[in-house]
């Protein structure tokens, strides 16, 4: 170990721990861990400077399978632990791995305030729209009507949109990808890691046992190209087999609409160009739902601001390590 960690360039396999991975065969988490290990290797990070912090859930078993530092904490609180770690040592590179229940149900408030404070951590939310570890109850992101052990007649609640939530609470980096889109996912993760401040990455993850096919509506091979738009800063918002379709603002409104190049004189330049610094555009993009509109994937919003712990640190640096005796004898004293 010690020797390896001095090797400058580690391979993805170097980020695997010696623990047997115990997700169900076919679980989307396998693809995600591969992607993260590849991301770390390609970015050439040091294992000893990397910490994975998680809550409780299938997704949250993640740290056990990484050869970095890791903390499998309690349900929903990972962002708070991560904040503490950054306040103890801002040098560390901290990743939070969470699930839709862990990060948006019991942990919603910590996700909220960690994003709001802009603590420099990467929050990866594995969204399988179900409670996996506890055997399949509906979650805050489950579609209305989901049949589950706790909703035998179908769930009644309206689902939360993870990314609309993140934007609403002031996140400065919001991105989305899918477990099966390895290359895309790695690209997004790299951007998240490079972004200084809180990065929120929603990863659609298939729970093959309790919610299989939750995303097939836009991930099925046959549908993918027509139902996914991969956004890239500065590039027009095009999709479809031949990128023949695009998005634009429906004239005189604040709604997005799909238009096809050629249709009544629409040209490629009429299409909206993605500006990842535009919060308003971002909220329109994350709200898109098939079949009418494609699902937006990629870095949807990125507009950096000072990270919370940097401000804390600079204050400490400003004046550190005052003399204890001076402190305790401060104020008025007398001698007997």
């Amino acid at each position: 170990m010690s020797t390896e960690s001095t090797v400058t360039q580690l391979k993805p396999a170097h980020f695997e721990s010696d623990q047997e991975v115990r997700w169900c065969p076919g679980c989307g988490d396998y693809a995600i861990i591969k992607a993260i290990q590849k991301t770390l290797a390609e970015l050439g990070v040091k294992r000893e400077n990397t910490v994975f912090v998680s809550g409780i859930g299938c997704a949250s078993r993640f740290p056990y399978y990484m050869s970095t530092y890791g903390f499998h904490t309690i349900h929903g609180r990972a962002p708070a632990f991560a904040t503490g770690i950054k306040l103890a040592n801002p040098e560390l590179d901290v990743w939070v791995v969470s699930g839709d229940g862990d990060g948006l149900s019991i942990g919603g408030n910590h996700t909220l305030h960690t994003l709001r404070r802009n603590v420099d951590v990467q929050i990866c939310l594995f969204n399988n729209e179900i409670y996996g570890l506890t055997k399949g109850q509906f979650s805050p992101t489950s579609k209305q009507g989901t049949l589950s052990p706790s909703s035998p007649q179908g769930s009644l609640e309206r689902p939360l949109s993870a990314c609309s939530f993140a934007l609403g609470v002031g996140a400065r980096f919001v991105a989305r990808s899918v477990d099966t889109l390895q290359k895309h996912l790695i690209g997004v993760l790299k951007r998240a890691k490079e972004h200084h401040g809180a990065s929120f990455v929603e990863i659609f993850q298939n729970c093959i046992v309790f919610n299989d096919g939750a995303f097939s509506e836009f991930t099925d091979r046959a549908l993918a190209t027509d139902r996914q738009v991969h956004v890239e800063h500065g590039q027009p918002l095009l999709f479809g087999k031949e990128k023949e379709k695009g998005l634009r603002i429906k004239p005189g409104s604040l709604q997005l609409e799909v238009v096809t190049v050629g249709d009544n004189g629409v040209s490629a330049d009429d299409m909206l160009v993605h500006d990842e610094t535009d919060r308003n555009l971002a909220s329109l993009l994350v709200a898109m739902e098939p079949p009418d509109l494609p699902v937006a994937l990629g870095v949807i919003y990125c507009d950096p601001a000072t990270a919370y712990e940097d401000q804390v640190q600079s204050r400490l640096d400003a004046a550190c390590c005052g003399d204890l005796y001076e402190l305790v004898r401060s104020g008025r004293t007398w001698r007997v």
Binding site: S5, E48, T73, L87, A88, H110, R315, L327, W334, V336
Partner: protein
């Protein structure tokens, strides 16, 4: 006050000498006196009291103070629930409580009189600002008729002064509005009281000049009022039946002193502890709550000392951030009260399971639920010991006095870092706010217990235990070769990996318990504070009951009663000789501000018939109450 002798390092520093008390008329001499200033939140009562205490301390008498403000919200002027008070107990004997009955009550309005009169001893002196006893104010205080007219005050020595008018006169040269003039009433009264006890005024004058540096005319007016009050006492204007009192200086151990509140002492102690442990950084994660918030505020003042304060979104995030910080290699500390502490129990269990150092300060207040947020109680002891799911042992210590909070905090840090365990540090609403003189310690002479972070990968695993302490190694993330995972799932004794093995669970459960139990060998043996090691009766206390118990036992012994005072600082684990010591007494009486929690632990642990003596009124015990309990048990 715990007056340890110390030569500090101040010897080489110029310190004010004991002021010679000025020329004085015939004076009665008193051992100790309790006075209370009471008025509207807006009347500057807290400042007045603090200044009086300061001048007294500077005069070398021993003091103890206690502020009593209204419930959190500022109430309308003149109402009974808007009354603010500040009590000062000072004397030449050593003072360990803020006092039982009042000798002097200064009441700025009818409501203040209404609320506080009951605490004035029969024959005591009550000084009122007659000009504030208007129809309106009397009504607000629900007085049918004016207590200055009817015989409400007959049992007392009433001094009715038209303070408002006197002040207005005193300051008119500065051309303040009469509204602004009234603002100086408190200083006029302070002047009078300083005269009454032959105190100096210079520190107060200094302070006023500093405070109002930007508004010199205000400073001048206030000083004028202060002097006017003093002069009023000095001159013949004073009613003939009033004389000044002398309270001689107490013979406290020599050393450099300052006054300190439990909150300040706790903050300094946590910092001192971190320094002793060689930890440059404290991460103090907290969420405001009465009466713990002042500690958050005090820690926030220590940024220059490597203290990071994190005001979290709630108490759960607060403790989790502190645990995260400890995992990250800093000292994680969290503090709260009542409801907030309840919210921390789940995460505390994780700290027990992952065996990380952590300090949890509980400033206890009256419960259950929101209860009486500003009032003191000791009803969280059993929660501290057992308020987690599963068998989750940790260390519990309690502060006995404001100044003691400093030493207990250092000790908490020592145990947390040496044994890799959460430590619950119990204080309460009384201790946090009360103040007493403090012999400033030589900080270079404080105990030294540097943490050794593990850096050697050889044979490392995260739950490899130190044979002596059974503590696991503490590793700073960032250390190459020691990358490891910890978590809430049960861990294998031999590898630290997740384990569902039944025998391993039993083994780890025992190891966690044995580690905490082992602390008993690393703490002082229990000794009585006062009295014999065997005898007919021991009064056993913990936390803030220290003061009244000590005084009561002290007085009872002076009257010839054979009684001992045992003060338990370490509540988990108990000192290893506690059981034997207690068995040496025929009777054990345990005064507690709860329904009998320590006594239940002693009974269960040692099968001794300890007797509860409980008080759940959100107020400290009175010395007399405990003294009576002692004598009633020993007479016959």
């Amino acid at each position: 006050m715990n007056s340890k002798s110390t030569d500090g390092r101040g010897a080489d520093r110029a310190e004010p000498e004991l002021p010679a008390s000025g020329p004085i008329r015939l004076r009665e001499v008193r051992d100790a006196t309790v006075i209370r200033f009471a008025g509207d939140s807006g009347d500057g009562i807290q400042l007045t009291g603090t200044q009086f205490a300061m001048e007294s301390a500077l005069a070398g008498v021993d003091i103890a103070t206690f502020p009593d403000y209204p419930a959190e919200i500022r109430a309308p002027a003149g109402t009974t629930y808007g009354v603010s008070a500040f009590q000062v107990h000072f004397g030449s004997v050593d003072i360990r409580t803020s006092g039982d009955e009042l000798d002097v009550l200064v009441a700025f309005n009818p409501a203040a009189l209404k609320v506080n009169l009951a605490d004035l001893r029969i024959g005591g002196m009550v000084i009122v600002d007659a000009s504030s006893f208007t129809e309106r104010n009397l009504k607000k205080a629900d007085y049918e008729s004016s207590p200055l007219e009817d015989d409400t005050l007959a049992p007392y020595q009433l001094i009715r002064l038209d303070i408002t008018r006197l002040v207005e006169e005193a300051v008119k040269e500065f051309g303040l509005s009469s509204k602004d003039a009234r603002r100086s009433r408190n200083l006029w009264a302070l002047g009078l009281m300083l005269w009454m006890y032959g105190r100096d005024r210079s520190a107060t004058v200094e302070w006023l000049n500093r405070k109002f540096a930007k508004k010199p005319e205000i400073a001048q007016a206030n000083i004028a009022a202060l002097n006017a009050g003093h002069a009023f006492g000095e001159t013949a204007e004073m009613p003939s039946d009033i004389v000044g009192y002398t309270v001689a200086a107490a013979d406290v151990a020599p050393g450099l002193y300052r006054t300190i509140t439990g909150t300040e002492a706790m903050a300094y102690g946590l910092l001192a502890g971190a320094r002793s442990a060689g930890l440059g950084r404290i991460v103090f994660g907290s969420y405001p709550i009465t009466p713990a918030s002042p500690l958050l505020h005090a820690m926030a003042q220590l940024a220059d000392y490597g203290v990071v304060t994190f005001q979290a979104e709630d108490e759960i995030a607060a403790i989790c951030s502190a645990i995260g910080a400890s995992y990250g290699g800093a000292l994680g500390v969290t503090a709260s009260s009542g409801a907030g502490v309840a919210l921390k129990t789940e995460a505390a269990g994780l700290a027990v399971g992952t065996e990380l150092p952590l300090i949890i300060v509980n400033a206890q207040r009256a419960g259950p639920s929101t209860g009486m947020p500003t009032k003191a109680e000791q009803a969280d002891l059993l929660q501290a010991l057992h308020g987690r799911h599963g068998d989750a042992p940790l260390a519990v210590v309690a502060a006995a006095t404001p100044a003691d909070s400093f030493e207990v905090a250092i000790e908490a840090v020592r145990l947390a870092t040496r044994y890799m365990t959460p430590v619950i540090l119990l204080s309460d609403a009384y201790l946090m706010n009360a103040a007493e003189p403090w012999a400033i310690p030589d900080t270079d002479a404080l105990p030294d217990f540097p943490v050794e972070f593990r850096t050697d990968p050889e044979g490392f695993h995260p739950f490899l235990r130190d044979p002596d302490t059974l503590a696991r190694p503490w590793v700073r993330p960032g250390t190459p070769g020691l990358e490891h995972r910890v978590g809430g799932l049960e861990r294998d004794y031999d590898t630290g990996d997740i384990s569902y093995d039944p025998d391993n669970h039993a083994r780890m459960t025992e190891a966690r318990a044995a580690k905490i139990a082992g602390i008993a060998n690393d703490i002082p043996l229990q000794r009585p504070e006062l009295g014999p090691e065997k005898g007919p009766l021991a009064i056993v206390g913990w936390g803030s009951t220290y003061g009244p118990i000590y005084q009561a036992v002290h007085r009872a012994r002076a009257e010839g009663y054979d009684v001992a005072h045992i003060q338990v600082r370490y509540l988990s684990p108990f000192p290893r000789n506690l059981g034997d010591l207690l068995k040496g007494y025929e009777r054990i009486l345990v005064p507690e501000m709860n329904s009998g929690q320590l006594v239940s632990l002693l009974r269960s642990e040692y099968l001794i018939p300890g007797e509860p003596f409980t008080k759940v009124r959100g107020q400290p015990f009175k010395i007399a109450e405990i003294q009576k309990a002692i004598t009633s048990r020993l007479d016959r």
